[in-house]
Every structure is written in structure tokens, then in C-alpha cells.
């Protein structure tokens, strides 16, 4: 009897250690990725030291974090939808385009039609959902690869913005629209809160509704999913609608709480936060709840980088930095699985 009890205690200890060891491996990857990225700073005008101090500056002063909240909101709205999409095997990179489309719709409603904020946010989300739906429809009924089609739609969104900003919505020059009136506003904290609550909502959907089972089933084995009734087509369509809605909403929130106007874009950067959302989703190991933390982390990294840009460090350095960390973390987590 005692021996059995001891054996049982041992086993649960191993199980707990096992789970902890993944976390340890992940942290090790994080730290190593961090260091390597800082090392890459050597090649930038700011030098490794400059990069390190910018990072230290941001991470050690929580008072500065609210500056990153608009980015956090945009990134999180993207990431949480992407996390669910990637789980189902739907590899879309269209979050950035959805953000842009959401911004455009919100600006149109708020600036030109004086709509209420809530209405503008919801409509932006709905249009974003349609934008996402397009990719899913192309995939489900025409077999078009979603990575490429979603990217193309991103580029189309950029073309749309440039046309609007350079033409009918121009504020004089050709690079930006006028600012939103001060009657329309949202504090950065509200934006962050809204994003966080949305992420929690998605997690609840994933964890406690059939959608979660369907998503994991379709992503794990489409055959098994379809056999037992979790339809591939329906799941992909829902996932795309959800991600698109969140993207559109995120773009609107970012507009109101952050940028307050629309500026011209290039296809190279796009808006950018949608792409960072991809990295945030993978960094969170596709766990919707964990995207909250990973998005904040990535937003802070980006904030640090905006300061560095003044020293001549390219905008994309932030992306590269984030990418290195994602690579190290995923590699280390994979290693920990191998040990298991």
C-alpha cells in the first residue's frame, strides 16, 4: 500500500517536472534569443549597447508601457485570431490587411459620417470579417493557398489606403488624412483593456465551445474531424470570420486610440502590427490566452525599437528581433519535447 502511494507520488512529481521542464526550456530559448538579437545590434548604427539600453529602458520602466498600448492592442487583436487559425491548419497572414481595412472603415464612419464609436468599431469588425472570409472562401471552394491569397489582399489594402490618402481623403499633402476630431476618442488603457478582454473571450470560445474541439481536430487530422462531424469547411470559415472581425476591430481601435489618422503605407511594411501578430501567435505556442503576454512582450520590443529608429536603426530591426526570439523559443521547446 505504501509502496503504491509512493509510486503514485513519484509519478505525479515527474509529470509536474515534465511540464515545468518545457517552461524552463522555453525561458532558456527566450533568454538566448534575446541575447542573440541584442548581439545583432552590433551591425546597426546604435550598436549592441544602444539596443540593450533601449530595451532596458522600456522593460524596466512600467510607466512607459502605456505608450505601447496601441501597438499592444493591434498586435493582440491580430495574434489571438491567428493563433486559432493556425491551430486549424489555416495559415493566413492577412491580419495586417484586416487591420488596415478596419482603420479605413472606422475613419470613414467617424470622420465623414460622425457615427458613434461603438458602431464604428463593430462595422469595422464586420468589414474585416468579410475580408477574412474572402480568403477562406477561396481556400474552401477553389483550393487557393491561403498564405498567398491573404498576402495579396494585404497588398490590395495598402493600395487602397495609398489611393485614399493621396486622393479623396488627403489633408493637403499626399501622405496623410486629417486627424480624427477630438470628440472621438479612446484612451490607450481602454484600448488595451478591450484587446485583453477580446483575447480572453476568444480563449473562452476555444476552450469551452465546440469550436475549440473542431479547430484542434481539423488541424490535427482533417480525416478524423470530418468522419466524426467536425466539418473542415465550416471550421475554416468560422475561424476566418473570427480572425477577420478581430482584425477589423483591432484596426479601428488602433486608429482611435493610437494613430488618429491614416498615413500612406508601403507594401513592405504594411501597417506592421498584423505581421507582428504572426510572431506573437507562435511565441504564445498558439495558446489564445498566452497571446496576451506574448503580444505585450512584442509590443514593448517594438516600442524600444521606435526609439532606436531615431538613431538610424531600421524599422524592420524590431521584426528581425522578434523573429530571432520566436526561432529560439520554438527550437528550445521542440528540444524539450524530444527529451520527453
Amino acid at each position: 500500500m505504501e509502496g503504491a502511494a509512493r509510486a503514485l507520488a513519484h509519478r505525479s512529481l515527474f509529470v509536474r517536472l515534465g511540464r515545468w521542464s518545457s517552461v524552463l526550456y522555453g525561458l532558456a530559448g527566450l533568454v538566448l534569443g534575446f541575447l542573440v538579437s541584442i548581439g545583432l545590434g552590433v551591425f546597426t548604427p546604435a550598436g549592441a549597447g544602444g539596443v540593450a539600453s533601449a530595451l532596458a529602458g522600456v522593460f524596466t520602466s512600467p510607466g512607459s508601457w502605456p505608450l505601447a498600448f496601441p501597438y499592444y492592442a493591434a498586435i493582440l487583436f491580430s495574434a489571438v485570431g491567428l493563433a486559432v487559425a493556425y491551430r486549424s491548419g489555416f495559415i493566413t497572414i492577412g491580419a495586417d490587411g484586416q487591420l488596415i481595412v478596419g482603420m479605413v472603415v472606422a475613419f470613414w464612419l467617424l470622420y465623414f459620417h460622425g457615427m458613434g464609436l461603438a458602431v464604428a468599431l463593430i462595422v469595422a469588425g464586420l468589414v474585416g470579417a468579410l475580408y477574412g472570409l474572402a480568403v477562406a472562401v477561396l481556400r474552401v471552394w477553389l483550393g487557393v493557398n491561403e498564405t498567398l491569397s491573404s498576402l495579396m489582399l494585404n497588398y490590395v489594402a495598402v493600395a487602397l489606403v495609398n489611393y485614399l490618402v493621396g486622393g479623396p481623403w488627403s489633408s493637403g499633402g499626399f501622405t496623410k488624412t486629417p486627424l480624427l476630431p477630438s470628440s472621438v476618442s479612446m484612451s490607450v488603457s481602454s484600448a488595451a483593456l478591450l484587446a485583453t478582454l477580446s483575447a480572453v473571450g476568444v480563449w473562452l470560445l476555444y476552450r469551452y465551445t465546440r469550436l475549440g474541439v473542431a479547430v484542434d481536430a481539423v488541424g490535427g487530422s482533417r480525416r478524423a474531424a470530418e468522419t466524426y462531424g467536425a466539418s473542415f469547411a465550416k471550421t475554416i470559415l468560422v475561424v476566418a470570420l473570427l480572425g477577420g472581425f478581430l482584425g477589423g476591430l483591432g484596426g479601428a481601435v488602433y486608429l482611435v486610440a493610437g494613430q488618429r489618422q491614416i498615413t500612406s503605407l508601403n507594401i513592405y511594411q504594411g501597417l506592421g502590427y498584423g505581421y507582428m501578430g504572426i510572431l506573437a501567435a507562435w511565441l504564445a505556442w498558439l495558446n489564445p490566452l498566452a497571446t496576451i503576454a506574448s503580444s505585450l512582450f512584442i509590443a514593448l520590443l517594438y516600442l524600444a525599437n521606435t526609439g532606436l529608429q531615431l538613431q538610424g536603426v531600421p524599422w524592420s530591426f524590431a521584426l528581425g528581433f522578434q523573429a530571432v526570439i520566436v526561432l529560439f523559443v520554438t527550437a528550445f521547446l521542440r528540444l524539450s519535447r524530444r527529451e520527453a
Binding site: G143, V156, P168, P314, S316, G320, L335, R338
Partner: protein
């Protein structure tokens, strides 16, 4: 006389775009035939572009530019190989991360030129080798040489290939290396044959993604890829003409800008349907359509 002249000009203007796309796509074609997909192609191309600029401007030697471009693409592909083949990390996340890493590194490298123009290279040899010679060579390799069969068997049925004794690691390493060389050449050409040796941030954006599309549209066949790349090149050379051809209206202006991208989506839709109809399938493990 005028329309004919315009036509030949158009046909010729399609070449540079086609060359960049095709070169990058050939490498990816080999990799996808071996059963893997490298979504990081865009990042590889971007980093190679920046590296070519940094090296060629610094040394004044076009050869240095080519070598640097290849080395840059190779460095990223070694990360891809190690992570995906050796560690078993998911190829999607690795590829996507490499896109962003490549962009970051490419900008750092390219910025070091401070906008200076470096040496240039003659374009014609590139056109001929990329659109005529290489597709033939690759075709012969894939369909006539036994090692081409071996490579394809990896993509068709990895289990069977393993039973035959084909080393998946070996062939994929070779594919990854060849891809790096071709991507390096594509980037070097883009810089020194097409952009007069001057690096501009973001100029090569999208070509890597388009190259991925070319592999699909060319049905994983070198000749198909060459044709698809050329057709897209034609579309690019037509693009400036579009505004004068279409009625001037806001919708059409946006459409004109977005034309290449929309065209790719339409082409993919049409081709996917066609493949589906004729019961054709991509190399098994690759695009899960």
C-alpha cells in the same frame, strides 16, 4: 509599325521581373519536390538583396555582391534546415520567422550602403540562362536523371523513398543549398542587373512571395515556372499602361495598383480548379489543399 514596336518593348520589359521570380522559384521548386516548403523565401531574397548591396558597394566588385547574396541566403537556409530537418520544428513557423528575420537583416545590410550605387551586371546572360537554359537543365535533371527521380520520390511518398534507402536529409540539404545559390543570384541580379546597383529599402518586397506562387502556377515543373514567371513579368510591364487603358475612376485606380496581386489570386484560383478537375496533385506533403 507603332503597335508592333510597343509589343516587342513590352515583351522585353517583362524579362527582368520574370528572371527574378523564376530564379527564386526554381530553388523552391526543388525543395518542394523533396517534400518541404520554405515560407521564408521572401526573407531570403530580401536579406540576399541587402547583402549583395553591402558587399558590392563596399568592394566595388559585382562578384563580391553575388557571393554575399548567396552567403546570406545560405545562412538563413541553414537555420531552416537545422530547425526543420534536424530538430523537427514546424516548417511553417520557421519559414515565417525567417521572413521577418530576413527583412531585418536585409535592411541593416542595405542601409550600410547609404544609398550609394554599386557596380552593375549585364542582364542578357541572366535572361538567357534563367528563362531558357535553367528550365531545360532542371527538366532534364528532374525527369531524366535518376537523382531527379530520387528527389521527386521524397516529395511523392517519403515512406517509399525511405524504404528504397534514399536519404531525406541529404537530398533536402542539397535542395536547400541550391535554393540559396539561386536566390542569391536572383537578388544579385535584381540589384545589379535591374536596379543599376542601387539598393532601396523595400524595393524587392513581394518577389519572394510571388515566387512561391510561381511554383504553384508552374505546377512544380521548371518549364511551367518559367512560363508563369514570364507571364507575371508581362503583367508588370503592362501595369503602367493600365491607367490610360481604363476609364478614370477611383475604383479603377486602386485596381490598377493592385492588378498584379489580384491577378495572382485569380490565376491561383483558376489553376487550382484546373488541377482539381484533372485530378492532378502537388507533391504529397506540401500544400495541404
Amino acid at each position: 509599325m507603332r503597335p508592333v514596336l510597343q509589343l516587342t518593348v513590352l515583351l522585353q520589359q517583362a524579362l527582368p521581373e520574370a528572371t527574378v521570380l523564376a530564379l527564386a522559384a526554381y530553388g523552391e521548386l526543388l525543395l518542394e519536390r523533396s517534400g518541404r516548403i520554405n515560407l521564408g523565401l521572401e526573407g531570403l531574397l530580401y536579406f540576399a538583396y541587402g547583402a549583395a548591396a553591402a558587399a558590392s558597394v563596399a568592394t566595388g566588385s559585382p562578384l563580391a555582391g553575388v557571393v554575399a547574396a548567396i552567403a546570406a541566403a545560405f545562412a538563413l537556409n541553414i537555420i531552416y534546415y537545422s530547425a526543420v530537418e534536424l530538430l523537427g520544428v514546424d516548417q511553417v513557423v520557421t519559414g515565417l520567422a525567417l521572413v521577418f528575420l530576413g527583412m531585418g537583416l536585409g535592411d541593416i545590410a542595405g542601409n550600410s550602403t547609404h544609398g550609394a550605387a554599386g557596380p552593375t551586371l549585364p542582364s542578357t546572360p541572366f535572361y538567357i540562362s534563367t528563362l531558357v537554359v535553367l528550365p531545360m537543365l532542371l527538366y532534364l535533371f528532374l525527369y531524366r536523371h535518376w537523382r531527379g527521380y530520387a528527389l521527386r520520390s521524397l516529395g511523392e511518398d517519403e515512406e517509399a523513398a525511405k524504404h528504397l534507402g534514399i536519404s531525406s536529409h541529404g537530398y533536402r540539404l542539397a535542395a536547400v543549398a541550391v535554393e540559396a545559390v539561386l536566390v542569391g543570384l536572383a537578388a544579385a541580379f535584381f540589384l545589379m542587373g535591374y536596379s543599376n546597383g542601387r539598393w532601396t529599402a523595400g524595393r524587392i518586397t513581394g518577389k519572394g512571395w510571388l515566387a512561391l506562387g510561381m511554383v504553384i502556377l508552374g505546377y512544380w515543373n521548371p518549364v511551367g515556372v518559367a512560363v508563369a514567371s514570364y507571364l507575371l513579368g508581362l503583367l508588370y510591364s503592362l501595369q503602367p499602361l493600365l491607367p490610360s487603358l481604363l476609364p478614370s475612376s477611383p475604383v479603377y485606380t486602386v485596381l490598377a495598383d493592385a492588378a498584379p496581386y489580384l491577378a495572382v489570386i485569380v490565376a491561383l484560383a483558376v489553376m487550382s480548379r484546373l488541377y482539381e478537375r484533372r485530378g492532378l496533385k502537388p507533391p504529397a506533403a506540401v500544400w495541404r489543399a
